[in-house]
């Protein structure tokens, strides 16, 4: 028998107490992992942003359109290698249920997939998409979720752009990796613009925002300034920023919720730390006499510290490990339940690292006070304790 075996035997002394404490830790780490994954999912767009893409939008608000005529002027600015654009279409698919929501955008079919190489679309599908004006491309997640395939008709009820819009699916893109959103739908901006020319001519000839590719990411500030200076005196002033900053501005709209989630995730860890500390304090107090006996046999204060801290670490690491193991299927289930709400929903490496770190730190911190107290107990005082 060695000391770790004594730790294990002590853990089995109050099986229910140990099991419940481990379960508490497992639930805390699971909740922490899930909340952190939600926070990470919120930032997925920011994290997936390319450093060589700039976004130009109306200086006042994203909701105001920009003239299509800006395109050629932007393309002439030095260090701009390609320009594309998009318009937020929105609309309703089937009904207004949140799980039927996915981003729908009118795009420049000729250039959009050049600007977004992370959307992998077979060449023949891209060519078919470019050729057919009422066609669309959808993400693989959408195709799977709604059982859609190439050739199907996708009907969207317009709201920002009223009408009954029908699109033929000509392509299904797959994400380059798991950080890329595969829940979007793209269709021809020209299709939208032609309809607007007929139904609401005053709205035609506009795009939602421009996507600019630059050769050198270090030129981003200069190019942004050049673009905005170009339209400084026009009716629609622009604001150009990196794609990351653009995505960040969306996330910041929900910053209070995200911050709350982050705080809650840390509060959960704090609560379980106190629960574990309470358990270890109770256990150590019950065994003061035993620790005194061990000291009479020649065990040192370090041995006693190791016994108490080891027990705490054992509980926290096993409990945390169980919680972490269950985090994977729970996150997968959560992601599957809300595939379009959280297009990218994966456990980040940083979340795993934090969960593992907290499992260890909680065990260590929770044991500090009782371990020091037990280690420093005077033998004669400990032997007087009623066991």
């Amino acid at each position: 028998m060695k000391l770790p075996k004594l730790i294990a035997k002590n853990l089995m002394r109050h099986k229910l107490r140990t099991a419940l404490t481990m379960l508490g830790l497992a639930v805390a780490i699971l909740a922490f992992g899930l909340l952190r994954t939600v926070v990470t999912a919120w930032y997925a767009g920011v994290d997936a942003s390319a450093s060589n893409r700039l976004i130009t939008r109306d200086a006042v608000s994203f909701i105001f359109p920009l003239p299509y005529s800006y395109r050629d002027q932007i393309a002439k600015i030095p260090d701009v290698s390609e320009v594309s654009f998009a318009t937020w279409f929105q609309g309703t698919y089937v009904d207004n249920r949140p799980d039927h929501f996915f981003p729908r955008m009118a795009v420049d079919a000729e250039t959009i997939f050049d600007l977004y190489p992370e959307f992998l679309l077979p060449l023949n599908q891209l060519e078919a998409f470019k050729k057919e004006r009422n066609s669309c491309v959808i993400g693989a997640k959408i195709a799977n979720e709604f059982n859609l395939k190439i050739g199907d008709i996708l009907t969207i009820q317009g709201d920002i752009f009223p009408g009954n819009w029908q699109f033929v699916i000509r392509g299904i893109y797959t994400p380059k990796d798991k950080t890329v959103d595969a829940t979007q739908m793209f269709f021809h901006w020209t299709y939208l613009d032609e309809k607007l020319k007929q139904d609401a001519p005053y709205r035609a000839g506009n795009v939602g925002w421009y996507v600019i590719r630059i050769d050198n990411p270090e030129k981003a500030p200069a190019v942004s300034e050049a673009v905005d200076r170009l339209f400084e005196n026009s009716s629609a002033k622009t604001k150009t920023e990196t794609e990351k900053a653009f995505q960040q501005s969306f996330v910041s709209l929900s910053s209070a919720i995200i911050t709350s989630l982050e705080i809650v995730s840390y509060v959960i860890i704090g609560i379980i730390l106190l629960v574990l500390a309470n358990t270890i304090i109770m256990s150590a107090r019950e065994r003061i006499r035993e620790y005194a006996v061990l000291k009479t046999l020649g065990f040192t204060s370090k041995h006693i510290f190791f016994l108490v801290a080891g027990e705490s670490l054992f509980i926290s690491i096993i409990g945390g490990g169980i919680g972490l193991a269950f985090t994977f299927p729970v996150v997968a289930g959560f992601g599957a339940a809300f595939p379009t709400f959280f297009p990218v929903f994966n456990i980040a490496g940083s979340t795993l690292a934090l969960a593992i770190t907290f499992s260890i730190v909680v065990g260590g911190v929770a044991s500090i006070f009782p371990a020091i107290r037990s280690a420093n107990i005077k033998i004669v005082d400990g032997l007087r304790q009623i066991g």
């Binding site: 028998m1 060695k2 000391l3 004594l6 035997k9 002590n10 089995m12 002394r13 006499r289 035993e290 006996v293 061990l294 000291k295 009479t296 046999l297 020649g298 065990f299 040192t300 204060s301 370090k302 005077k378 033998i379 004669v380 032997l383």
Partner: protein, 225 residues
């Protein structure tokens, strides 16, 4: 007469309760020869357990020196004193103080975890000790599966398994019925006579003291000659 293995010289000890100093031992001088079986007797509060604790190195005097097996234990720091205890002292308590989660074998093995013995060697030592106390057939029993007398015998096996220089026993029969107490005292006599162990035993029981070679009486912190 054999050389003194325990030399207590001018030892005083007092405790503090809040701001009040309570003297427990006053200027105690005592020699215990090697191979001795000494009984310390006296009324409650006379300081006999305190003297035993000082000899065993689990408490420190306010003044004086305590030399056990050639080491002035008063000068040792905590970790050195712990090491010294593991090699030189075997403890027997009134209430056995066995680990309830460990079997008899594991309880006896505890002091050996601090040695460099291999698992096989530890096993041999533990089995020998349990054989000496007559509990070879109870090695896998937990304390709650043993009688009081058997528990105390396991505690004695734990005390002797490292072959210590001295055995200190604090009221070893205080919690036992007469039959079990007699068995324990017989065992201690055997450890003294057969295995030449020096024993210092605190007891209230005159029948227990009769088994010792020598009896010293303490009263109000002083040895009564």
């Amino acid at each position: 007469m054999a050389d003194a293995i325990v030399q207590v010289h001018s030892v005083s000890k007092s405790y503090h309760r809040d701001s009040i100093e309570i003297p427990v031992l006053q200027n105690i001088t005592l020699d215990v020869p090697e191979g001795e079986f000494l009984a310390l007797m006296g009324p409650s509060g006379s300081g006999k357990t305190t003297l035993l604790n000082l000899i065993a190195g689990i408490d420190r005097p306010n003044s004086g020196s305590i030399n056990v097996a050639g080491t002035n234990i008063v000068q040792l720091n905590e970790s050195a004193l712990a090491r010294w205890r593991s090699r030189n002292v075997g403890f027997v308590f009134q209430f056995y103080n066995l680990m309830p989660v460990l079997t008899a074998f594991e309880n006896v093995e505890l002091p050996l975890l601090l040695t460099h013995l291999s698992k096989k060697e530890r096993k041999e030592h533990v089995e020998t000790a349990l054989n000496v106390v007559g509990l070879a057939d109870r090695i896998h029993h937990y304390p709650k599966q043993l009688s009081g007398g058997q528990e105390q015998r396991v505690a004695i096996a734990r005390a002797v398994v490292t072959d210590p220089t001295i055995i200190v026993a604090d009221e070893p029969t205080g919690d036992l019925d007469k039959k079990s107490a007699d068995e324990i005292l017989l065992l201690m006599e055997r450890l003294n006579s057969e295995f030449k162990k020096t024993i210092v035993m605190v007891t209230h029981d005159p029948r227990a003291a009769e088994r010792a070679h020598t009896t010293q009486h303490l009263e109000k912190g002083e040895l009564i000659q």
